[in-house]
Symmetry: C2
């Protein structure tokens, strides 16, 4: 099994994902928000690259639009991109149709674009610190080569996405080596980039929050008073859910969750 | 001051180096070998991308050819790319012209190509663990933005080059912050990639050899019985020399060395 890491999704050619199981990371905050929403009662999340499209879809179907641009909530959107907004689950009281309120339309600066970019993969999961172990186990079940895809920030390398990929790679190694994550399992081929990500994960293992605070984007969110978002996203393995892209939307993928 | 890190030299556009002071890293082993040779009595090292050109130059001028391809010594070359071959200094006994024996023509798979690729920078230094502090101080003296350029291995991300860049970034931070390397100095702008490299350096600070052993290329050298090369290259700040490209060749750059 080969494990590759793509440091900035949209800067690469998506052909590299061909016949691999892919995990997309936008740890601050899209993929952390997706797993939080799915764990809190939302049934589907539509990742949509364009804000206008998101609003049209939401109005047409009665779904809930959410998203940000440059970290700010989009004008006219009831929700931004903070996972904390979705912990309470869908507000079914505001509509007579609970089915529709269960559906989120999410558009973000980097994350939803990266998920759409990854569509050519055999299967696309979304990963974060919150569900590192769950997605590691999900991709191992597929038995294919694995692509860890970091969304990056504005087309540039992102520390927190690489850290997320490192934690998942650590969980893959633990699973294959029985808690000993310090050596590669037999038959595993990796570049140096997953190894560097893994070493970052080891470095921040006992304090993932420091890792999320160390990058530029984390610093920007801190300056906006969003430390609670970082604290939320820094919880390792809170959820046993591997969100998976199924056509146009992301679900818990019943095969992959024990919740 | 902005500090950038280019993870794989030849995969990027060299225009990004414009008006920056640049440090090129091929830690295993070209840039470790260059500083070792200069510290041991060689006066100049010509980095030459092509092996044929290297041999022609060596014969024409009586210089000493050295180099490798894929880690193996090149046929017809008296020296490979191990720093240990040059510790003894130039063998002036084999020639009547000590001046010529003092000059090395070096051609390697990744390192010399990366040095040539970086030529458009304002000034090009070569860095390694052996001289991390020296090159950090040298680039700070220039007062320009800094580009940390990793040679990479076969066009791919290299753990040991990134680690070398991280150690230099650590020394830059120490210098600016007075031994406190844990925060950015005022006016310093960095992407997440130098920060990730810096965290790698912190992780391996007390055991740099483990870092050199963790990457693919280090593993390959170990399999060839070259552990002593890795041990040599893992010595942090052994030399107070900042090799600098001056036209076609690299010298100690008298301005930058106290040896």
């Amino acid at each position: 099994m080969q494990v590759s890491l793509i440091p900035v999704a949209t800067a690469a050619n998506p052909d590299v994902l061909h016949e691999t199981t892919t995990i997309v990371f936008d740890v601050l905050r899209a993929t952390s928000t997706i797993v939080t929403a799915l764990a809190s009662g939302y049934r589907r999340v539509y990742p949509v690259a364009d804000a206008g499209t998101a609003l049209v879809m939401a109005h047409k179907h009665g779904f809930v639009p959410a998203g940000e641009r440059g970290g700010d909530k989009i004008a006219g959107f009831p929700h931004g991109n903070s996972p904390l907004e979705f912990i309470g689950g869908p507000n079914v009281g505001i509509s007579n149709d609970a089915q529709k309120c269960n559906v989120l339309i999410l558009t973000t600066t980097n994350g939803t674009k990266a998920i759409r970019w990854a569509e050519s993969a055999y299967k696309v999961f979304t990963g974060s610190l919150l569900n590192a172990r769950a997605v590691a186990q999900a991709v191992l079940r597929e038995g294919l080569d694995v692509s860890l895809v970091c969304a990056g920030t504005g087309g540039r390398f992102s520390l927190e996405d690489t850290l997320g990929a490192g934690f998942v790679f650590m969980e893959i190694m633990k699973h294959l080596n029985g808690e000993d994550s310090s050596r590669l399992a037999a038959g595993m081929a990796v570049d140096d980039l997953p190894i560097a990500a893994y070493e970052l994960a080891r470095f921040y293992y006992h304090d993932p929050l420091s890792g999320l605070m160390a990058g530029r984007h984390g610093q920007r969110l801190l300056r906006r008073g969003l430390e609670d978002d970082l604290r939320w996203c820094a919880q390792l393995n809170r959820y046993d859910i591997a969100p998976v892209l199924s056509g146009e939307f992301i679900t818990t993928g019943n095969d992959y969750t024990k919740q």
